[in-house]
């Protein structure tokens, strides 16, 4: 290294030093410590005691863990596709030449700003089984169906019904789709107008233009949003926690991995077990992200830019 390089290395490290400290103390150390704690019996009050793979053995036999894992997967598998479709749909609508697009954009975007605490309390109220707004709205179409088909469908008691609670959470999440929608909208506006015009000259109708121009060129943005959605939904905690008044729902139907980590650590003070759960969550996110990246690599079109 010559003198210039040395100076630059020194300056560079000096500038990034805040992050280096943060990385060491708040990322690298916690990951390693998690690994260590997960091999220990550790209750915070006393020092960790090494117990080998005991926590992991317990974990494999722990039905609650498997339930949390199943709920976490299910939520991600349902909410990511639904919110992707809704976000793209709204973005495409907003990209139409109608008046007041700025107003519609604000309306769709605002809910995504709502803090988790307000969001959860508000939806707890909206999803109320007897006097909630959601049921008030859906009882109209249900009545019509019942009248025509002779069925006796009733609106669900969302948060008190083990099989419906998670769908209530999905609805709550869909209301906050505005953030992703803005990113899709920006992506749509990056697509060169000539491409649409070329497709039109080639004889493509609106639907074909959407399938053959819009979607392929939007794939990098979809890719980004899906990864962000994955990382976000796998760590979901605050909203279900508050929706259930600090618990995990009927039949633990709103128990997620992050919830279970929190419970193990701060309700049962079983830090070792919680650390093992945290590592599982980490590996899960890492693994699934890699799968998505692998899958996406071949299907993402980085064109036009």
């Amino acid at each position: 290294m010559n003198r210039g390089e040395k100076t630059r290395l020194r300056h560079g490290l000096l500038f990034i030093s805040p992050w280096l400290v943060g990385f060491g103390a708040l990322t690298a150390y916690p990951l390693l410590a998690s690994l260590w704690f997960s091999l220990c019996d550790y209750s915070v009050l006393s020092d960790p005691v090494y117990i080998g793979a005991e926590n992991y053995r317990e974990l494999v036999q722990d039905e609650v863990f498997w339930l949390a894992l199943r709920n976490t997967f299910f939520f991600a598998a349902v909410s990511i596709p639904l919110s992707t479709v809704l976000a793209i749909g709204l973005a495409v609508l907003l990209n139409q030449p109608v008046r007041g697009r700025g107003i519609y954009r604000t309306i769709f975007f605002l809910p995504s700003l709502v803090p988790a605490i307000s969001l959860a309390i508000l939806w707890q109220w909206l999803l109320n089984g007897s006097v909630g707004l959601v049921n008030e709205v859906i009882q109209w179409p249900l009545r019509a169906i019942n009248a025509v088909a002779g069925t006796a469908l009733k609106p669900p008691d969302w948060l008190n019904d083990p099989s419906w609670a998670i769908w209530g959470l999905v609805l709550t999440g869909l209301w906050g789709v505005g953030n992703a929608m803005i990113i899709y909208l920006a992506g749509l506006q990056e697509i060169p107008a000539e491409l649409y015009e070329a497709a039109e000259m080639d004889g493509a109708g609106p639907w074909q233009r959407f399938c053959h121009v819009t979607l392929p060129l939007l794939t990098p943005v979809i890719f980004f949003n899906v990864i962000m959605g994955l990382i976000g939904s796998l760590q979901t905690f605050a909203v279900p926690y508050i929706l259930t008044n600090g618990a995990d729902g009927p039949g633990r139907s709103l128990l997620f991995l992050a919830t279970y980590i929190y419970q193990s650590a701060f309700d049962y003070w079983n830090m070792g077990y919680a650390a093992a759960l945290a590592l599982v969550l980490f590996l899960l996110i890492l693994g699934l992200t890699l799968v998505v990246v692998r899958f996406g690599e071949k299907r993402v079109h980085y064109a036009g830019r």
Binding site: N2, R3, G4, E5
Partner: protein
């Protein structure tokens, strides 16, 4: 003011894993004399900008030495070299007024406010930044390209540096502004009596501005000489073809004895319209040592004439060629014609379009202007 010496300068950009680095400059040595206007010229990627940036201190030197007034500056940061630079995109600070853009370097050097005001005022006046409109309080965004260019110049001038460095400063201006600013730079050089180092890929800029030109290609210096010498006595084939527009004609062929003279005979499979020029006197003596050898002939387009325009065309310098394309460009006409194996361009005075495409025309070469190059090395044969 200052003399800048560059010795054996070398710059290698490190390659990424497993790949060799890229050599940007190799063994460059030259001296820029005090008050000299030196232009570094060459095609893009030839290393001229890298050389300038190494002089400025913006780029590390892999090996070699740079001296300013005898002092080695290799490890001295840019700010302590006392050089001012004008950038291709002007690099004006968008958030500062024109005045502050010019004053900033002086403020950093703790020059007294009064002196700053004085110097900025002078430079602004010299560059016409006060008349017709006072631009000093404007932000760069509110200026035209030409005005920005002048502010960038002003920023350098107020520094009263040891030398000015220019990195393609005219390339972002439109054609008209470029010509005007070129003349202004020339005037400025005379007024300031400063050492200037100027990088460009534009040969007209090089020819018109320079006291001396450094021609570079692929990291190496090809020739260092005053403009007209570079034009008329290019050191090698690269310089010959890089300088001059339209490009110099080059014809490969061989030398053979022809009576008391020496003949250049074009190399070609076909014999029709084979170019043959016979040299006598000094040129013949020089070519005698090359008898039987292959050479490349270089002949500038303005040194070819339509034989009909001459009262007594020299038969030894006259040949026939078939016309491909005729381009009347205004004051003159460019005729593209084909000999047995080469295409030649002739610049002839504009007249009635008497040259018909496909027809054969007789051309006469100005033999004393012909240059010869070694086909293997490309070097000029003296």
């Amino acid at each position: 003011m200052a003399e800048i010496t560059v010795e054996n300068l070398r710059k290698v950009y490190p390659g990424s894993k497993g790949q060799p680095g890229k050599v940007a400059v190799e063994g460059a040595s030259f001296t820029i004399r005090d008050k000299e206007f030196m232009v570094l010229v060459g095609p893009s990627g030839c290393g001229k900008t890298t050389t300038l940036r190494m002089i400025a201190g913006l780029e590390d030197i892999t090996s070699g030495t740079i001296r300013i007034d005898g002092r080695v500056v290799n490890d001295i940061p840019p700010k302590d070299r006392d050089l001012a630079m004008v950038f291709q995109n002007y690099a004006l600070y968008p958030h500062m007024s024109v005045y502050r853009n010019m004053a900033y370097a002086l403020e950093l050097r703790r020059v007294p406010k009064r002196v700053i005001r004085d110097r900025v005022g002078k430079a602004a006046k010299l560059l016409g930044l006060l008349e017709p409109d006072d631009l000093l309080e404007r932000k760069p965004k509110a200026l035209s390209g030409g005005q920005r260019q002048r502010v960038a110049l002003g920023r350098a001038i107020v520094r009263e540096p040891k030398a000015f460095l220019f990195d393609e400063p005219l390339s972002n201006l439109d054609a008209k502004m470029r010509v005007e600013t070129r003349a202004e730079l020339s005037r400025l050089h005379r007024t300031l009596e400063a050492t200037m180092v100027y990088v460009t890929h534009d040969q007209i800029e090089a020819m018109t501005l320079a006291d001396r030109i450094v021609v570079m290609n692929e990291g190496r210096i090809q020739q260092i000489a005053p403009p007209l010498e570079v034009y008329h006595r290019p050191a090698n084939l690269f310089v010959a073809s890089f300088i001059g527009s339209p490009r110099i004609n080059t014809v490969s062929g061989r030398i053979e004895r022809d009576g008391d003279g020496m003949a250049f005979v074009e190399k070609s499979e076909r014999s029709e319209h084979r170019l043959r020029l016979v040299f006598t006197g000094d040129e013949a003596r020089m070519l005698a040592s090359r008898d039987g050898q292959e050479v490349v002939l270089g002949l500038r387009p303005e040194h070819l004439s339509d034989a009909r325009d001459l009262s007594a065309p020299d038969p030894r310098a006259t040949f026939e060629a078939r016309i491909d394309v005729v381009e009347p460009v205004g004051p003159e006409t460019w005729i593209y014609a084909r000999t047995a194996g080469h295409q030649l361009i002739a610049r002839v005075p504009h007249a009635e379009p008497r040259a018909d495409i496909g027809h054969t025309l007789r051309f006469t070469a100005e033999l004393s202007r012909a240059r010869f190059f070694d086909p293997a090395t490309g070097l000029a044969i003296c």
